[in-house]
């Protein structure tokens, strides 16, 4: 996979292999925390620190307000980012290079934040759902396991995020 900043208000994913495209096409599903309470709590944490010197009733009141007012906005923002990435991925084309078919995709710079959000949501959920180590080198299971695929996904997503942060979003 090649990541290119076009310096024309767009960035491109080039020479995306079949496996890499499969990983990208999983972003939306992977970012869904359903069925994993830890992932839900991680994506939608309490607004109050666990060590806050407040009585439990005050904490409950703040958390109830948060769920009612801030929660839907946060959820909506996450959903919009995932939809933007889904639409961008739907525009991917097959491009031939050196006799091999690859996927290619050009994305407006203005979508970079949505991509970072979607990729990060997916990374967080993957780590919680599969109880992944924070470092890829710590993996012990073989290369064909679900955990290995989840680590590969997370690594690819992290690499794209690093590119977007350094080449597109950093001012």
């Amino acid at each position: 996979m090649e990541l290119i900043s076009n310096n024309d208000g767009k960035w491109s994913l080039k020479r995306v292999s079949e496996l890499e495209y499969l990983m990208l096409s999983r972003i939306q599903d992977s970012a869904d925390p359903s069925g994993c309470e830890e992932a839900v709590i991680r994506l939608y944490p309490s607004p109050v620190t666990p060590t806050a010197k407040l009585d439990p009733q005050a904490v409950k009141s703040i958390e109830d307000d948060w769920r009612e007012y801030a929660g839907p906005d946060i959820r909506d923002g996450f959903g919009k980012a995932l939809n933007t990435v889904g639409s961008d991925l739907a525009s991917a084309c097959v491009e031939e290079a050196d006799g091999v078919d690859y996927y290619g995709l050009t994305v407006p710079d203005s979508h970079a934040e949505s991509w970072c959000s979607a990729l990060n949501q997916a990374r967080l959920v993957l780590h919680h759902k599969h109880d992944l180590p924070s470092e890829a080198g710590e993996m012990e299971s073989g290369p064909v396991s679900e955990e290995w695929l989840a680590i590969l996904q997370s690594e690819i997503y992290g690499m794209i995020m690093e590119f977007l942060i350094k080449e597109v979003l950093w001012e």
Binding site: R42, L43, Y44, P45, S46, P47, V48, T49, P50, T51, A52, K53, L54, A70, D73, I74, G77, F78, C116, S117, N120, Q121, R123, L124, H127, S134, S154, G158, M161, E162, I165, K166, L169, W170
Partner: protein, 101 residues
């Protein structure tokens, strides 16, 4: 029924006193907690964007989060603290607030 000639005494409170009393409310701290999954560059970028801090200050705070597990990134009135926590959580940073001791 007529309400003419009815008077209600209301004690006037100067606006300055109301604003002053708001300022006496205890300040709140906004904290970011370490999350090994979040990229360091991502945390730095979001701190810069949300608080308008310089690159060096944002990097210093990110490193504090990374090494010490948490960092106080802002202190001030509760409403603004809530807004910052919402913005940070919208970027999937592990952020929360608490009153200053």
């Amino acid at each position: 029924m007529s309400v003419q000639n009815t008077s209600v005494e209301v004690e006037a409170v100067p606006v300055a006193d109301i604003e002053g009393s708001e300022n006496l409310a205890p300040p709140w701290k906004v904290l970011i907690f370490d999350d090994p999954v979040n990229l360091m560059s991502f945390v730095t970028l979001m701190i810069r964007r949300i608080f308008g801090y310089s690159e060096s200050k944002a990097t210093e705070l990110m490193l504090q989060v990374h090494h010490k597990g948490r960092a106080i990134v802002w202190t001030g009135e509760r409403e603004k603290a809530e807004l910052f926590v919402q913005q940070l959580q919208s970027c999937q940073l592990l952020a929360a607030m608490e009153p200053v001791d």
